[in-house]
Amino acid sequence: MDIRPEKTAIEVHNLTASYNRKPVLWDIDFSLPQGQLIGIVGPNGSGKTTLLRNMMGLMKPDSGYVNMFGKKLDEVRERVSYVPQRETVDWDFPANVMDVVMMGRYRKSNLFKRLTKKDKDIATEALEKVNMLPYANRQISQLSGGQQQRVFIARSLAQQADLYLMDEPFVGVDAATEESILTLLSEMKKEGKTVVIVHHDLQTAYEYFDWIVLLNTRLVASGPKQEVFETELLQEAYGGRLTVLSRIGDLMAKKDFPMRESEFKEKEGPGDEGAS
């Protein structure tokens, strides 16, 4: 299933990518809408991170291309921001939180120049948004996993982009960070930003995202979450993995439950809506 959005943020066209001649992504083709929270979901080794790396031009695909806002990435880099997996950097690097967030203000064009007061203000604001301002002068080596993740997101926010691509931001974070990221995501959505998130956990994917891309080397489905969360599609993506299959069973039950609840709410009227 491949549903096409009205306003396209990212278009992936016939993308095939491989490591050591082993294809990790096979003929992927889909488009993602603007202004939504989008989850790229699939089992381990399904090529989610590879897909993100191809989108950001960090890896050369064997064939196919990726367009952002209808243009090549190089033409719209200023509008696109990337949040790598936090395990990919050495957190013992001598820097404090503010140093890292300020990197979000680095551009190809100002790399040899000094940053301005305005850059500093923007970085401060970004730290505020992830509730990390009290830690501005803290050494990055002294942060918890969740705090590291929030620093990475703040750096990305400081870039003031329109489109954000995040690689597994919810992995290994504490409840406070998860809460803080989710609040931030809904704010970003309100501001019309598009956020694409690589996410491995099916259970929460349905709650977090509006649009879901189901991936398992090939594209299984891309569309609004209600249409993608169908038993056959989930089995196609996760099928053959027995442990996961039983989880899908749980999921289907979980999915059914809020659906009934929302039907119930509709009958009851909007009163409940305002409270939440």
């Binding site: 820097a95 140093d99 890292v100 990197m103 190809k108 830690y135 705090q147």
Partner: protein
């Protein structure tokens, strides 16, 4: 680690350039060695990424082979001229003042090594000031830099080129052992003492000077090898810093325990 590798691997570059130009310390020699330095990093990258070798293994294979190749070149081709293994390994720092630059009218304007090293120092300071952000960003998080459209290859090879240049220039006066000691020990010591990159850079320079001066007087007292004394002194400073952090960290933990965490 890569700096360590380069400092050894540039040896064949120095020898080949020496064989071609027939003299030491000139521009051909510098360029030849710097080129080999960059080649070393490329070789390490290829072995690591294309041949799927672990990074430390590819560094080890590359620099030992190149260094050994350089030693063979010296022993078999340059036996008759003034480039010997001893000089390459231990340097001839005591003889630096005996090799001054004389102007046309015979005025002595100081040792040649001082002028060349001074020029390189100037180049490095300019590169550090101008390239601070680029170097910090690409070192800390190369993928993020690439996502910003910044060429990580430019910064990587630019940086490695500077490391080779420094190594080559220092080689002649201080020798391979002291090059490695001065390349690694002062920054490693500074890393123990501070957690800010800028402070670390200043502290490294300071510790380098301290190592040189302290090592010199140590050699005077012991009446021994200057290079050896300097390397030893660098080690002593490192050990001292390590001991210092052990003591202060413990007290820091106690202090932190009394402060309410703002988070």
């Amino acid at each position: 680690m890569v700096g360590d590798a380069i400092s050894h691997a540039v040896l064949p570059g120095i020898v080949i350039a020496f064989l071609i130009s027939g003299s030491r310390g000139n521009f051909v020699m510098l360029a030849g060695a710097a080129a080999i330095g960059v080649l070393t990093t490329i070789l390490i990258e290829i072995l690591h990424k294309k041949a799927n070798l672990q990074e430390d293994a590819s560094i080890g294979v590359t620099f030992t082979s190149l260094f050994a190749f350089g030693v063979i070149l010296i022993s078999s081709f340059t036996g008759q001229v003034d480039l010997d293994q001893e000089c390459v390994l231990y340097g001839e720092i005591a003889y630096v003042p005996l090799d001054p630059i004389l102007l046309g009218n015979g005025t002595n304007i100081g040792p040649r090594a001082l002028w060349i090293s001074g020029t390189v120092l100037l180049i490095i300071i300019i590169a550090l000031v101008k390239g601070y952000k680029g170097l910090a960003l690409t070192t800390f998080n190369a993928d993020y830099a690439k996502a910003l459209g910044i060429s990580t290859a430019f910064w990587h090879f630019g940086f490695m080129g500077l490391v080779s240049l420094t190594t080559v220039v220092s080689f002649e006066s201080v020798g391979a052992i002291l090059v490695v000691a001065l390349l690694i020990a002062p920054p490693a010591t500074a890393y123990l003492l501070t957690e800010s990159l800028k402070k670390m850079l200043w502290l490294t320079a300071l510790l380098g000077i301290l190592t040189a001066v302290g090592g010199y007087y140590l050699a005077l007292i012991l009446d021994g090898s200057i290079a050896g004394a300097m390397a030893t002194f660098a080690g002593v400073l490192f050990a001292g810093a390590w001991g210092w952090t052990k003591v202060t960290r413990r007290t820091k933990v106690i202090e932190d325990g009394g402060v309410v965490n703002p988070g």
